[in-house]
């Protein structure tokens, strides 16, 4: 045993001391950092650097077959010398991964695109500020003054329903009508941060704490089925007829599926929960030039046009939503926006989660 102990200590010691070298090579703060470089030859530098790197890895929470793949294909068509790779995850899984990478001192991700991660990612010291000439075109209220993130797309959230199970005359028209006992056991939502928690934050934001609590208590009596997956999956369950209604769909998802013939329709409820998703740049991306080149593309009119044709809502003020999506843009259908900023989403999360645990988690 003594021998074993010595051997172990020896090996373990080697492992631990080599850990000292892990304090990751943080980005050089020199003026040459492609993240913040503003010189006239910026474009030239990015292209040269990206050509050498030849690769970019994007983590995004956009649904792969709807939006993420078209954007990556568009990028590759424009810059054929950079091979884009992607990983699609929900925001909490994305956070788990980027935190693990940052702690390991081995970043794999070059570009992080997500919803609601702006605050925790910065708190964990994972990302760095960046500058892209494209950001100038965006409205200031949807931008981060310090440049730690830039807006990529808007999302309008609301209910959706199965058109075979809910007859035209029965469709609920308001938050109150969701409380009708006939829907008991027939409603689902995603039990994730971007699902139920965000729904609760939204309700709190427009009703005020007291009314929101009373409303949520009544809603809890409807036995809402929690699906531990992305909001998109909940829409799939509604399409499959497992549930009649869902509360927290990204409203463009049912439109996209309905066009393929699925029995599902979006149901925006006034005021419409609105969030912005954003793009972030890690401190030590393995391909810093390609990363900036991709961010430029994603924020450009070209990249945003891919979102438009994918039926997502471009954040670029110069790129309108596709005509089909007009029926869910709140301003166009006479509904109000219930905008939850990244900071608010994060600040309200603990209480919304506590409410969820108390009222809805059995």
């Amino acid at each position: 045993m003594k021998m074993a102990a010595t051997t172990f200590l020896l090996i373990f010691g080697v492992l631990m001391t080599s850990g000292a070298g892990q304090v990751a090579a943080e980005t050089a703060p020199s003026g040459d950092n492609p993240a913040t470089y503003r010189g006239p030859d910026r474009e030239q530098r990015l292209l040269e650097g990206a050509r050498k790197e030849g690769q970019v890895t994007v983590y995004s929470s956009m649904i792969a077959d709807q939006a993420l793949r078209p954007i990556l294909n568009g990028f590759e068509a424009k810059y054929p010398f950079v091979k884009p790779q992607y990983v699609r995850d929900d925001p909490p899984q994305q956070l788990q991964k980027v935190m693990a990478e940052a702690r390991a001192g081995r970043m794999v991700v070059d570009v992080l695109e997500s919803t609601g991660l702006e605050v925790p990612v910065r708190a964990a010291g994972i990302n760095q500020p960046f500058w892209s000439p494209q950001t100038e075109a965006y409205t200031t209220e949807h931008r981060d003054p310090e440049g730690y993130w830039a807006p990529t797309r808007f999302s309008y959230l609301g209910a959706c329903y199965n058109t075979n199970l809910v007859k035209p005359g029965e469709v609920p028209k308001s938050f109150e009508e969701l409380l009708d006992p006939k829907w008991k056991g027939k409603i689902a939502w995603s039990s994730t941060v971007i699902g139920a928690m965000l729904f609760i934050t939204g309700v709190r934001n427009f009703m005020g704490e007291e009314k929101a609590l009373a409303y949520l208590q009544k809603l809890a009596k409807q036995d809402i089925a929690p699906i531990a997956s992305a909001n998109r999956v909940v829409v799939d369950r509604v399409m499959a007829g497992e549930y009649a209604l869902c509360l927290d769909s990204f409203l463009h998802h049912p439109i996209i599926s309905a066009r393929k013939g699925a029995p599902v329709a979006p149901l925006p409820l006034d005021p419409v929960l609105t969030v912005v998703s954003s793009v972030m740049l890690p401190k030590a991306p393995p391909h810093p030039y390609a990363a900036m080149l991709f961010i430029d593309y994603l924020l450009s009119k070209d990249g945003q046009a891919k979102l438009q044709s994918a039926d997502y809502f471009p954040a670029h003020p110069g790129v309108a939503a596709s005509p089909d999506l007009g029926k869910i843009v709140p301003e166009k259908i006479g509904l109000r926006q219930n905008f939850i900023s990244p900071a608010k989403m994060n600040a309200d999360l603990p209480k919304s989660r506590a409410l969820y645990q108390e009222l809805f988690a059995k």
């Binding site: 373990f12 080599s18 788990q96 935190m99 799939d236």
Partner: protein
């Protein structure tokens, strides 16, 4: 050649068990020291990192802070912990009983009766071994779901508006996990029924006992130790399983220990690594106790050996008019275990978006998902990664196990420690081992996090215990006198091993290789936390597809992958059968 004589009729003769301490030197050879050092380096650090994370605070940047017992005390104080434990036990027990019942029924029908089409049971079990867990579970979720064909049928038959079956429940979990293990239960139980001495049953029927009475009082009673050991094995496997708890349990809020760990890591922001690690440590302790019990029970099984040197022939029971009923059962079981899930998956793979079975949907069928999957570089990469991972892990494990297994079976000096180290990873449920390695890679200063190489390390550690068992069984069948002869002729330990033992071990090692390969390519929870974008593997890709709502692509990739793995499974069984090796 007593070893071979013993093996042919299926019994391990106790005297052969440990082998002789040949040649009885106490000198520790260099090979053993190196092997012990290697295993220490691979097996001990995950334990240390898991324990360390469970006892330290973590700041928002993910660095370790002060020592704390809070992660544990929070668990014990929480109201949910009790129900989590109850759920875990109910789930594991239910799954074990169901798998045993289905497996034993099949084994009895196939081995002891003259029912029709018995071979069908083997074919179905073999095919089912090649289906990835996630695919199998998803198939059942679609089939039994609220909008699935079974609920639709029940609503047609009995009326009403509410679906009759809720698959996202504890009973749904038990059903699917039980189904998942039933083919293995069958394959492991069939030799037990095959080899039990028929003279007891004949005596019973001479004394006037009927078919059922004989079955109950004699056949099943003789198989009891084997049933108990297998039941315990499935209980342990279900306790540490992750796929069913995550895919079936979480949506229905039926939380068990393994799914709690995943929840702490992915539903909380930021991930609560301390609490997840504390749960991991608790689960390790539980597994250690269960495995101890299992070893005791498994050691007892040979007490009921009925195959002796005397004339022995298993009796085939004539079922008479029951023959047709049994035949129907033999068609029905594989139908439920294999055909239904595969058909459901194929249906999903051919549809642009999933919808229930209907005439209208037939017009939408097409190969779009297959085209998407086969044209995508990332899917082709994940298939290649899975194959590389499986092959590398299997090769390393087989090589290590051959040497370690020989040392352990021949009791060379230091072999006790070797045995302990190589068996230790068994106490790790896959998700906990994944978490422990995540912590190791993240803090260990190695730059291998997220690489395919890191997945190979994780798999080798996870599967070395299985490899060792194969190798030991292989060595036990080789009588030491062959090596003694070599020693007399002047060969040393190393020479005797390489010139004599190794060539004789080849069949056992081939089947060990294939077994580890199959385990490694099927693993989901082991890889889930350590996989990176450059090292995506099929099993994890399938899991992600389900969570991201890409059911069509999941089904298409799953079909392609099942076909590939089935080829390996068939190869495995051909080898295993030819050399009469135990399966599992």
């Amino acid at each position: 050649m007593m070893g071979h004589a013993g093996r042919l009729d299926g019994a391990i003769i106790p005297a052969e068990r440990g082998g002789k301490a040949y040649p009885a030197t106490r000198r520790v050879s260099l090979a053993v020291v190196l092997l012990i050092a290697l295993l220490c380096a691979a097996v001990i650090p995950p334990f240390v990192f898991l324990a360390y994370s469970s006892l330290h605070q973590l700041d928002p940047t993910g660095a370790f802070g002060a020592l704390t017992f809070e992660h544990f005390s929070t668990i014990f104080r929480s109201r949910a912990f009790g129900s989590t434990l109850v759920n875990s036990v109910a789930y594991a027990l239910g799954s074990a009983l169901l798998a045993l019942a289905i497996g034993a029924a099949q084994a009895w029908l196939a081995e002891r009766t003259d029912a029709f089409l018995r071979q069908l049971l083997y074919v179905a079990s073999i095919v089912s071994l090649g289906i990835p867990y996630v695919l199998y579970i998803v198939a059942w979720l679609l089939f039994l779901g609220k909008a699935g064909p079974l609920n639709a049928l029940l609503l047609q038959l009995f009326g009403g508006t509410e679906p009759y079956i809720n698959v996202y429940s504890l009973s749904g979990m038990i059903f699917i996990e039980g189904m998942l293990w039933s083919p293995l239960a069958f394959l492991l139980l069939s030799p037990v029924f095959r080899n039990s001495d028929a003279s007891f049953e004949e005596a019973a029927s001479i004394c006037g006992a009927g078919l059922l009475s004989t079955l109950r009082h004699v056949t099943l009673r003789m198989a009891r130790p084997a049933l108990l050991a297998l039941g315990l094995l499935v209980f342990i496997k279900a306790s540490e399983s992750f796929e069913v708890p995550a895919l079936v349990g979480l949506p229905g809020s039926t939380i068990v220990l393994t799914s709690t760990i995943y929840q702490r890591l992915t539903l909380d922001m930021p991930p609560d690594i301390g609490s997840a690690s504390a749960f991991g440590v608790l689960l390790l302790v539980i597994m250690a106790i269960l495995l101890q019990i299992y070893n005791r029970v498994a050691a007892q099984t040979h007490r009921y050996q009925t195959v002796t040197g005397k004339g022995y022939r298993p009796r085939v029971i004539r079922l008479g008019r029951w023959r047709y009923a049994a035949g129907a059962l033999i068609v029905a079981i594989p139908f439920i275990v294999v055909v239904v899930p595969l058909a459901t998956i194929l249906w999903a793979a051919l549809l642009p978006f999933y919808e229930p079975l209907s005439v209208a949907a037939i017009s939408k069928l097409g190969f779009g998902n297959f085209v998407q999957v086969l044209n995508s570089q990332s899917f082709r990469d994940s298939i290649a990664n899975s194959l590389i991972l499986g092959a590398s892990a299997a090769t390393v494990v087989t090589a290590l196990a051959a040497i370690a297994g020989w040392c352990v079976a021949r009791r060379v000096a230091g072999s006790r420690l070797l045995d302990l180290l190589a068996t230790l990873p068994l106490v790790f449920p896959a998700i906990v081992l994944g978490l422990a390695f995540l912590e190791l890679f993240v803090h260990g200063g190695t730059q291998i996090y997220g690489s395919l190489f890191s997945l190979v390390i994780v798999s080798v550690v996870a599967y070395i215990p299985y490899g060792l068992r194969y190798a030991q069984l292989g060595v036990i069948q080789i009588h030491p006198e062959l090596e003694e002869a070599a020693a007399i002729a002047g060969a040393g330990h190393v020479g005797a091993f390489f010139r004599i033992a190794l060539p004789l071990l080849v069949p056992a090692m081939i089947s060990c290789w294939l077994f580890v390969f199959l385990l490694a390519v099927r693993a989901v929870s082991l890889m889930l936390l350590v996989v990176g974008p450059d090292s995506q593997v099929v099993a994890v890709a399938l899991f992600d597809f389900w969570n991201n709502g890409q059911i069509g692509e999941l089904a298409a990739l799953g079909c392609v992958w099942t076909a590939i793995v089935t080829v390996f499974t068939v190869a495995f069984l051909i080898v295993a059968r030819r050399y009469q090796l135990p399966i599992g």
